[in-house]
């Protein structure tokens, strides 16, 4: 699986959503599954998949599907 696939899988599995929903409109709190609890499990999945540990500021900045990609660049995860 490449990075993009791993990234998408974390969203689809944690929020139980289809690939078609993975776009710029997907933001924190726009779907019931992405609340604070869902956020915690999403971050945990991403950390596991990419073997990284996100800084606090990055955890709370991770406010959308697109923003997340930007943040992961800092951890040398390119998609």
């Amino acid at each position: 699986m490449n990075n993009q696939e791993k990234y998408n899988q974390a969203f689809m599995e944690n929020f139980s959503i289809e690939a078609s929903k993975l776009n710029a409109e997907l933001e924190y709190n726009t779907i019931p599954e992405w609340d604070s609890v869902g956020h915690m499990s999403l971050i945990a999945s991403l950390e596991e998949a990419f073997e990284i540990m996100l800084e606090t500021d990055d955890v709370i900045d991770f406010s959308s599907y697109n923003k997340g990609k930007e943040i992961l660049k800092k951890y040398k995860i390119e998609m």
């Binding site: 929020f15 609890v37 915690m40 406010s63």
Partner: protein, 466 residues
Amino acid sequence: MNYYDDIDKYKDKLAIITSSGKKITYQKLIQKADEIGKFLENRDLVFAICQNSFESVAGYIGALRAKAVICLIHNTIDQDLLITLVNQYQPNFIFRPNSSKPLKIDGDVTFSDSAYSLVKTQFNKHHKIDSNLALLLTTSGSTGSQKFVRQSYENINSNAESIAQYLEISPKDRPIATMPMSYTFMLSIINSHFLCGASIIMTDSTLMEKKFWTQIKKYKATTFGGVPYIYEMLKKLRFERMDLPDLRVLTQAGGKLNKEIIAEFNQICRSKNMKFIVMYGQTEATARMSYLPWEFAEKKLGSMGIAIPGGQFWLEDLNNQKIEQNNVSGELVYKGKNVTLGYAQCIADLSKGDENKGILHTGDMAKRDDDGFFYITGRMKRFLKMYGKRVNLDEVEQLLKTKGYNCACAGTDDNLVIYFTGNVDKTKVLKYISTKIGINLAGFKMKFIDNIPRNDSGKVLYSELN
């Protein structure tokens, strides 16, 4: 005299700081509260759809002052369930945010500002309501149940006074909201702080949002309350590294927090000169029943503490006999003025008086040590605490069974396991149940088994599931 009847005395002191930074004085709060309250008659029933906003709090205070009975409902409630509830209880008014979806229920707007509207329904019902009844709250979780806890004026006021006393709340305190106000723990924070003339930062932002941390710093929050899951989030966010010089008190309730996490927070708080206070309560006791005085945080690690001022605990065995020895487990029983009147399951129940007479059988098992500190050891009923909300496992099973799924539910707090037989669409089931009871998908697991273990009489053997 109840606290909300004379909080105008705090005049131009700040009562609320909104998430957009608006500063609301007590005078302004009471003005808005009474502006809404003047449309309400004594013993009217009001359903309030709550957000953590100034208007929402004003509606609550306004109803209390007008002696109308208010039922607080979180604005994320399932719409079908809300309509069922409204039809069942036939409230005279619905107080709702303008941003929420209009209900398919007829009514005329009698009051409206930029944020909220008070809608007079057409039920035109003169409810027979007990004179002591002040407030209806759900028992935290909502599995589609129409059950409310009936809280009296005395319940609310006496619990607020006890809490203010043991937490030594001062007018300088400034808690930040971390939970919805319709949740009893959050409501107790509001009541106890208003009683003392303190200010509350009302926000709907969660700990996982940057906005929350901006607000906590900018508005100089001093106090913070959370359910176990909030402390897990704080851990994840490496709370120990945060610089929050105004924060002084952290309180925890809404379920039993893991001992290791308590120890960790004890240590962090000690190094930051903060107090970490573990507490215990139930909606059935208005909110709070016990607290662990922070001086004992380390010595009595894992304890739920002692009864709040004015309250009393004892333990009972299976025959409802008082257990006199220490270190023996039994049902925890509480006595105090904050023990609520009872439940309401239908409109007729609103006329009922005090059924508990100040004594609550908590359904929790506990033991008492030689120094009089209590420790929760288990639960008598089949429910879990999911992110602070109480979820009845039998009700979850019922919900799934009515959808045709053969299943049994078990698990631990924040981890509900659904055991299935046969072929089911896992995603569909999880989505259904998580939407229905309003608990994030992350809290559920599904396991497939060949048979649900039962005894000879057909009762499910939950102990054999794991």
